[in-house]
Amino acid sequence: MPKKPNILFIMTDQWNAECFSGFNHPDVKTPNIDKLIEGGVSFRNCFVANPTCQPSRTSFFTSQYVHTHGVEVNNQKSKPMSVVHPLAKVLKENAAYRTGAFGKLHLGAFEEDAGFDKILHACDNPFGEPKYFEYLKEKGLLDEYLNAERKPPMAVNQKFCTGTSPLKTCDTNEAWTADQTIDFINENDDPFFAWCTFERPHAPHMPPSDAPVVYDPEKLTVPPYDPKYFESKMNHSRAGCENLWKAWVLGEDELRNALAHYYGLISLIDQQIGRIISTLEDTGKLDNTIIIFTADHGDFAGNLGMLGKNSSNYDAIIRSPYIWYWKGNFDRNMHFDLCEAIDMYPTICDIVGIETPPSVQGQSHIEALKDVPYYRGKDYVFSERSLSKTVRSKTFKLTINSNGTKHYGELYNILEDVDEKHNLYNNPAYTHVQTELAEELVAWFIRTAQPVHFGNSSEDCSPALRWHNSFCKSTI
C-alpha cells in the first residue's frame, strides 16, 4: 500500500490575500511561497468563517461555521458545543498520522481535544507559559522581548504597534516555530500532520533588524483612500488602539512605515517557510508532502488607508490566502472561483482516503486540484460575526448587521465597486439581487444552525444530519 502523504499545514495570522509577489503585488517579496504558487493551485477567492483568530481557527479544525460550533469571540473559555471530529484527531485515529502543532494555536481549551500528539506554543497557551518563552528565558532574552513586543508602550501601540524587534532573526518566534516544525518532521519517517502556525504578520509589527527584506516606506504603493469612506456606514470601529490605525488619523507617513514593517514580517515568514521546504527537500520528503498555506483571516494592508482590522466583513479581512502544493500530484492552476476555508478539512479527507465525518459542513474541492477543467467553485460563501452575517456571490455581497434592536443592511456590487463604497441595500434597481442573497443567507442559517437541545433528541433533528452532504443531496 502506498504511504499516506505527509501534510504540512502552514497558517499565518492576518496575512492579506493579495500580499504575494507571485500574485503581482507591487511591493511584497515572497520568493519561497511564490514557488508554491507557481507549482501548485492557488485559490484567490477563499473566505474564512469569521475574521478573528479563535473562531476562524476553530472553523478550520471542525469544518463548521461559527454559529454552529459556538466559538464566537477570541479567548472564549468554552469549547465548541457542536458535534466535532477535530481534523488532527481524525487523521490520527483513522489514518495513523502523527500530529503536531507549533506556534500560535489560539484554539483555547479546545486544543486539548484537538488530537495533537505534540503541542509547542509560541504564545497564547491557555494552560501555562508558552514554550517559546522558556527558550528566550534560557537565552536571557525574555524580559527584553516582553517589554518590546508583548507590552509595548501605549505610544507605540497607538501608532500601528510598529518598531524593530530587539531579537535576531534566529531567535524570533518565526524562526522558533519553523525550528519546532523541522524537528517534528525529522523525528521519524511515519506520515505526519504538522500544523506550523506563525503568530504574525499580525501586530506587533516588529521584524528584527536582520530581517531578509527591509522595505523602504517611501517606495511603497498606498492605494487611494477617502477619510469620508465610513461616514455613511454603520460604526465598524473596534475597541482599542487599532481604531486609530488609519492614514487620515496618524498620517500617511505612519501608514507607510507600518506597511514596511508588516511586509517585513511577511518576508521573514516567507524565509522561514523556505527553510522548512529545504528540510523536506534534503530529507527526500518533499515529493510525498502536501503543503497548504493559508491565514486565519486577512488584513486591510493599506486598503482604505488602513492597517489591521475593523469589525466589518470587508473583503480584505474575510478573504484569506489559500494555496495547495503537492509536487507532481496537483495541477498548476489559479482559481478565482469561490471557496471557503472550511472546505480544507473534507478535501484533506478525500486526498488521504478516509471518510469525511458527518459533522463536517465544508465541501471537498479535490476536483480543483486535479485536472478537472470545469471546476466552478461555490455559488455562495458565508462569513459571520455574532452581530453580522455575510453572504457573498461572485458579484454581490450582502451583510446584515444588527445592534440588538435594529438592523442595517449592506449590499455591494463587488465587481464594479471593489472598495465596497456604494451601499445598494434597498436600492430598487437591485431588489432582485437583495432578495436572492437574503434568501440564501436565511437558508444557510437554517441549514447550519445548532439546536440548543442537541444530544437530547431523536436522530432526525441532529444537526449532523441537517448539513451532512448525503442528507442535503437526497432531499433537496
Binding site: 478565482f336 477543467p373 461572485k394 458579484t395 464594479e416 463604497k421 434597481a429 431588489t431
Partner: protein
C-alpha cells in the same frame, strides 16, 4: 442588354437577429421576413461593425470598418468622400433614393450620394426639417415625438399616438411603394434605401397591432447565472440611462417584449406590401433585396438594456438576401458576415466597378458559395479608454472591454446563448489566443495605437485605468435619462424648469 437589377435595401433600427419566425423564434409573427428567408439566403451570423446607430450606418454606407471611417460611436461621420453605396451606383446610371432614417451626421439633411431623400429622422419634431413631420402637419396630425414618447417613457411599452395609416412605419411603406410604382417600366435601374426607425424604442405600435402578442405569454429575457460577470463597463453605464436601474419587473419585461415584437411585425407588414408591389410590377426577381438592421437590443438579457456592447443580443443583426440569380433560395449560411459586406454584395450584383473604392467587406454571395477563406469579422464600440473590440467567427467570439480591462470569450457552438465567459479557461487558451491575436493584428494593421501595445511576447491590449464608475455614487444619477429635456412643457406657471 439585360437591365441591371434594382436594389432594395430594407433597414430597421435596433432589431435583434433572433426576431425572425422562420429562423427559429416560435413567438414572433413575421410572415414576410419568413418569405424572404424561404426565397433567399439567410446569414445567421451577421454582425454590426459598431453596435450603435451612426457608426454602424456609416460603416455600411461606405463599406468600411470603424477603424477606417474614424467613427465607432454616435458622432460626426467622415466628410462625404463620394464613395458611398448610392454615390457609386448613381455614377453607374442608377436612380437612388433614401426613405426614412439615415441618421447622417453632422448634417441630417445631407444627401451623401443619394439623388433623392424623404426624411424621417429620430428626435425630430420640426415640420420644416423633416418630411414626415411636414406630412403629419399637413394632415392635421400631432407631430411631436411621432415615433413614440421618450423621456421616462422610453422603455415603457406604449400605443402609438398615430393610427395605423399615419404611423411612421406605414409612412415609409407607402412612400417606398410609391417609388417602386413610379420606377416601374422605366429602363433605368434604381436603388431604394427603405429605412424604418422601429423597433427602436419607444416601443409604440399602432392600434390594433399592440394586441398581437399577449404580454403574460411572452418569454422572459435570458439571464444566465452570475450574469453580472458578463457585463462590460459600457453595459453598466448604459443601464442607468436605459430603464434597467429603475429595477427589474418581470411583468413589464414581458410587456416590453410584446410591444417590441409588435413594432417588428408592423414593419414586416410594410415589407410584405413592398414585396407584393414588386411582384405585381414583375420586378421581384430582378431586384436585389437585402434586409438587415444596424444593431440589436439587450431587451433585458443579462439584466441589460440598450446596445453598444458585444453580446449577440446587441451586436448580431438579421441579414437576408433575396436575388435568385446570385443567392440560392431557402439557404442558410452560418459563416460570419458583417454590414460592411453589404456594399461589395450590391456592387457585385449590379456589376458595378468598385476597383477604385476602398472596401473592407466581401460579396456575400461568394461567402454563401463557400468561395471565401475569411473566417473572422470585427466590430468596435467607441475608442481608447472605454472601447470594446470584437473578433467573431462561426465558432468563437472574443471581445475586450478597455473600460474595465476585461476579456470575454464565448464558445458559440456549445454555448450559443453566451452564458459563460470562457476567457480564463486554460484548455481553451489556444483558440482564445488565436482570436485575440487575429484582432490585435488587424488593429495593428489599421495603426490603432490607442488599442494595442507591442510587448516582447507579442501584441497585447493597451491597458487603461479602470474607467469612471462614479455613477455608482448616486442611485438616481442619469436614471432613465433618455432625452428627458428634449420636449418640455414651458408655459407660465407650468414649467418643468422651476
Amino acid at each position: 442588354m439585360k437591365k441591371k437589377p434594382n436594389v432594395l435595401l430594407i433597414f430597421t433600427d435596433m432589431q435583434r437577429a433572433d426576431t425572425i419566425h422562420a429562423l427559429g423564434n416560435p413567438v414572433i409573427k413575421t410572415p414576410n421576413l419568413d418569405r424572404l428567408v424561404k426565397e433567399g439566403t439567410a446569414f445567421t451570423n451577421c454582425y454590426s461593425p459598431s453596435p450603435v446607430c451612426v457608426s454602424a450606418r456609416c460603416s455600411m454606407h461606405y463599406g468600411l470598418y470603424p477603424q477606417k471611417t474614424g467613427l465607432a460611436n454616435n458622432g460626426d461621420m467622415l466628410s462625404d468622400n463620394g464613395k458611398s453605396i448610392p454615390a457609386v451606383l448613381g455614377k453607374n446610371a442608377y436612380i437612388t433614393k433614401a426613405i426614412g432614417k439615415c441618421h447622417f451626421t453632422p448634417d441630417r439633411q445631407a444627401m451623401r450620394g443619394f439623388q433623392q431623400r424623404l426624411t424621417q429622422e429620430e428626435c425630430c419634431s420640426k415640420p420644416e426639417e423633416d418630411d414626415y413631420c411636414k406630412w403629419l402637419q399637413d394632415n392635421d396630425c400631432d407631430f411631436d415625438e411621432p415615433q413614440g414618447t421618450r423621456g421616462e417613457m422610453y422603455y415603457i411599452p406604449q400605443i402609438s399616438l398615430h393610427s395605423e395609416k399615419e404611423h411612421p412605419s406605414n409612412w415609409i411603406g407607402d412612400r417606398s411603394i410609391d417609388f417602386i410604382n413610379e420606377q416601374s417600366g422605366k429602363d433605368q435601374p434604381w436603388m431604394l434605401f427603405s429605412s424604418f426607425i422601429h423597433p427602436h424604442p419607444p416601443f409604440a405600435p399602432p392600434k390594433p397591432w399592440h394586441k398581437l402578442y399577449r404580454a403574460p405569454l411572452m418569454p422572459l429575457p435570458e439571464v444566465p447565472d452570475d450574469s453580472h460577470l458578463l457585463h462590460t463597463w459600457v453595459n453598466s453605464c448604459q443601464n442607468r440611462t436605459k430603464y434597467r436601474d429603475y429595477g427589474i419587473d418581470n411583468n413589464l419585461l414581458r410587456n416590453i417584449k410584446a410591444y417590441y415584437y409588435a413594432t417588428i411585425s408592423f414593419v414586416d407588414y410594410q415589407i410584405g406590401r413592398m414585396l407584393d408591389t414588386l411582384e405585381k410590377n414583375g420586378e421581384l426577381d430582378n431586384t436585389l433585396i437585402i434586409f438587415t438592421s444596424d444593431h440589436g437590443e439587450y431587451l433585458g438579457d443579462y439584466n441589460c438594456f440598450g446596445k453598444r456592447s458585444m453580446h449577440d443580443a446587441s451586436s448580431k443583426v438579421p441579414m437576408i438576401v433575396r436575388y435568385p440569380e446570385r443567392f440560392a433560395a431557402n439557404e442558410i449560411c452560418d459563416q460570419a458576415v458583417n454590414l460592411v459586406d453589404v456594399f461589395p454584395t450590391i456592387a457585385a450584383a449590379s456589376s458595378t466597378d468598385v476597383s477604385n473604392v476602398d472596401l473592407d467587406g466581401i460579396d456575400m454571395s461568394e461567402i454563401a458559395a463557400g468561395n471565401s477563406e475569411r473566417e473572422v469579422v470585427f466590430s468596435q464600440f467607441n475608442e481608447g479608454e472605454t472601447a470594446i473590440y470584437m473578433a467573431v467567427s462561426r465558432e468563437w467570439k472574443y471581445f475586450y472591454s478597455a473600460g474595465d480591462d476585461h476579456e470575454f470569450f464565448f464558445d458559440r457552438i456549445n454555448d450559443p446563448r453566451e452564458s459563460s465567459n470562457k476567457a480564463g479557461l486554460l484548455f481553451l487558451k489556444e483558440p482564445k489566443e488565436k482570436m485575440k491575436q487575429c484582432l490585435l493584428e488587424y488593429l495593428k494593421a489599421e495603426k490603432a495605437t490607442e488599442a494595442y501595445i507591442e510587448t516582447e511576447s507579442g501584441l497585447d491590449w493597451k491597458r487603461y485605468p479602470r474607467y469612471d464608475y462614479s455613477f455608482l455614487e448616486d442611485h438616481d444619477k442619469n436614471l432613465g435619462r433618455q432625452d428627458h429635456d428634449a420636449y418640455v412643457l414651458d408655459r407660465p406657471g407650468y414649467s418643468v424648469n422651476n
